[in-house]
């Protein structure tokens, strides 16, 4: 019999709020976390952002001060919610700290520290770089803070990063490298991403409107999310299957037919032992750009046709880039637990050229199985199938 990993604890922080209660309330109330850009280092940019309040003045405990950067502040803020640290402590008792792995996704880690240091012409030292900006920095910070010493890896595949952590963690546990894994993702606001997406002309000047006929780009958000994965422990949800693929088409544009995305979804279903009809809700990647939403719609039509309900939650959180995967996997956990699916905020009328079933309104629904999509630069695709907890 196939064994599935359980999500035995989880927590999230994003523009909608910090911790489950706040995020859930915002979604229930149809309250977007997006606001006109007030990110001080990039004030000249006309756009909307999903900023997490309080990071500017947040402090790390004195013994962790060397790690201080926006990304690690966001990681810590999130870790402190929802009893996550206590759950990890219990797991440490159960398996030993050396048997717990950490797999985190990020696209830019703490690059803001380097961006700001560069502007003031007092560059970071090598030690600062290792603690704050290296791709491994936040993973190292999280395992230090949580006191776990098992295998650890950052996965950085742009916007699919923190969806792919579920696959890496399962493989590591199945290979015997560890007994449990902390997976997640953290990405925080930075100049490179804000001005980079502007350069690509996909940064909306308004709140993003995924799948809308008049959509005109993304709103960048920052977010963190963590989940503890274990076999044989009761959990809030189960990780049923992960599908990964590559577009092999273009570095920053999706394949127009969505072939790679469809491949990832099909692979996730196969790993989960499910058929498309078994999926009750899809949390779509749905960034709000013309090309991304059209390609994803084409892929959904290939795999699911017109029947399966899907929505994009980027109108609530913004596009959290390397943290989008974990954020949206956890919103699927919410859908499974609450038997309630979020609508596509800010989309008033679905683009008539799209064919899949995009839910505009939130509401109660029977959700036994959910799927979340994450796609990114470099043509990377990842889909994660989740089921109700045992």
């Amino acid at each position: 019999m196939t064994r599935f990993l359980n999500i035995t604890a989880c927590t999230l922080a994003n523009a909608c709020g910090t911790g489950w209660t706040a995020v859930q309330r915002a979604l229930r109330d149809g309250q977007s976390g997006l606001r006109p850009n007030d990110f001080e280092p990039a004030r000249d940019l006309e756009t909307w952002i999903g900023r997490v309040d309080g990071l500017e003045s947040a402090a790390l405990p004195p013994h962790l001060e060397a790690w201080d950067c926006r990304n690690n502040r966001l990681a810590l803020l999130c870790l402190e919610q929802d009893g996550f640290v206590t759950a990890v402590q219990r797991a440490r008792g159960r398996y030993g700290p050396e048997r717990i792995a950490v797999y985190l996704g990020t696209s830019t880690s703490g690059i803001l520290s380097t961006e700001q240091a560069w502007c003031t012409s007092s560059p970071l030292t090598q030690e600062d770089y290792q603690h704050r900006h290296s791709m491994y920095a936040t993973t190292a910070f999280v395992r230090t803070y949580l006191g776990v010493t098992g295998p650890a890896t950052t996965i950085s595949t742009a916007c699919s990063s923190s969806a792919k952590v579920f696959g890496a963690a399962k493989r590591a546990i199945d290979a015997g490298w560890c007994d449990a894994a902390i997976v997640g993702g953290v990405d925080s606001l930075a100049l490179s991403t804000l001005y980079g997406f502007r350069a690509l002309e996909v940064l909306s000047r308004e709140p993003c409107r995924p799948f809308s006929a008049d959509r005109n780009g993304i709103s960048i958000g920052e977010a963190a999310g963590f989940a503890l994965l274990e076999y044989d422990q009761p959990g809030e949800a189960r990780v049923l299957g992960v599908g990964e693929s590559s577009d092999a088409f273009h570095m920053s544009s999706p394949h127009p037919t969505g072939a790679g995305a469809a491949h990832a979804m099909t692979a996730a279903l196969a790993a989960a032992g499910l058929t498309p009809e078994d999926i009750d809700y899809i949390n779509l990647h749905g960034t709000g750009t013309l090309a991304n939403d059209a390609a994803e719609d084409a892929a959904i039509m290939t795999v699911f046709g017109t029947a399966t309900r899907g929505s994009s939650t980027k109108g609530y959180t913004g596009h959290a880039l390397g943290a989008a995967g974990i954020t949206e996997a956890l919103l699927c956990v919410m859908a499974l637990n609450e038997q309630w699916i979020p609508g596509t905020l800010n989309c008033r009328r679905v683009d008539s050229r799209l064919g899949s079933r995009i839910e505009l309104e939130s509401g109660p629904a029977r959700v036994t199985h959910a799927l979340t999509n994450s796609f990114g630069f470099g043509g990377t695709n990842c889909s994660v199938a989740l089921g109700r907890g045992s």
């Binding site: 560069w118 950052t154 950085s156 290979a175 630069f377």
Partner: protein, 267 residues
């Protein structure tokens, strides 16, 4: 499964233009001579991407192609890949920071998409027309070992080959402190299930395990240590040396904290 077959090996670094030459140097039958790396041409890529590809992508593609030389294109396209790097592309990072430091903060689209850590994976997939799973991992100085763990777990979970590619380059002077290597280095291992002895021309890696470092990590081959010390991808060299000699024995690569990733090699 407690063994992996090494189906192919590839390498690109100054003075190490390919696995055939590198294997002779590592096995001690030829001497090492430093030679500047030419600007590599990723000829598998369409013209536009060939022009745009950044340095780490060029090196990674060359090493991966070396490891898969002789395989039909249809097979290459199906092989999953794991790209490992400690620091990514410092040249792209420096250009990005310089652009952001100007008042207008104009970043070129190519510079931005090249700045993602998985750029080598993306360019490789385009060139090889590989729709298979691909990932990009980092664990600081332990990035090669972390990549090997990920590749191993991928082969054991799917029973199919995986190409592990590790690449790190020196950083430009303004960011010299970030990455400590002074020479570029890329290597690739095409790994398959270890139960098929016919398909392990370079021997096998067995008994991979994370251990507390009772013995310290194996040292870099002496002829190359000066050149590649500090380059995280070059942490693979003790393993590559073993493979070049088709030798049996235990080696240990640096892993996190004070741990090692220990493994045996067998011809």
């Amino acid at each position: 499964m407690n063994a992996l077959a090494v189906v192919g090996v590839g390498i690109r670094a100054p003075g190490l233009p390919g696995w055939v030459e590198a294997a002779a140097i590592l096995a001690g039958v030829a001497s090492y001579e430093w030679k500047e790396l030419p600007r590599l041409m990723p000829t598998t890529l369409p013209m536009t991407e060939r022009r745009r590809a950044n340095d780490t992508s060029r090196l990674a593609i060359a090493a991966a192609a070396d490891a898969m030389a002789g395989l039909p294109a249809e097979s290459v396209a199906e092989i999953a890949s794991v790209f490992a790097s400690a620091d990514g592309d410092g040249v792209v990072l420096a250009d990005l920071l310089a652009a952001l430091a100007k008042p207008e903060r104009m970043v070129s689209p190519t510079l931005f998409h090249n700045s993602v850590f998985n750029a080598p994976a993306g360019y490789w997939a385009i060139g090889a027309n590989a729709g298979s799973a691909s990932t990009a991992v980092c664990a600081g100085k332990a990035s090669f070992a972390a990549g090997l763990l990920e590749a191993w777990a991928h082969v054991t979970s799917t029973g199919r080959p995986v190409c592990l590619v590790a690449v790190d380059i020196p950083f430009p002077s303004a960011l010299r402190g970030f990455a400590t290597g002074t020479n570029a280095f890329a290597c690739a291992l095409l790994l398959g299930p270890g139960d098929d002895e016919q398909r392990s021309p370079y021997g096998r890696i067995t008994g991979l395990r994370v251990t507390l470092a009772e013995a310290s990590a194996s040292s870099l081959p002496s002829a190359l240590a000066d050149r590649f010390e500090g380059n995280a991808a070059a942490a693979a060299l003790p393993l590559l040396e073993r493979l070049s000699r088709r030798a049996s024995g235990t080696i240990a690569l640096p892993y996190l904290d004070n741990k090692c990733l220990a493994m045996e090699t067998a011809p």
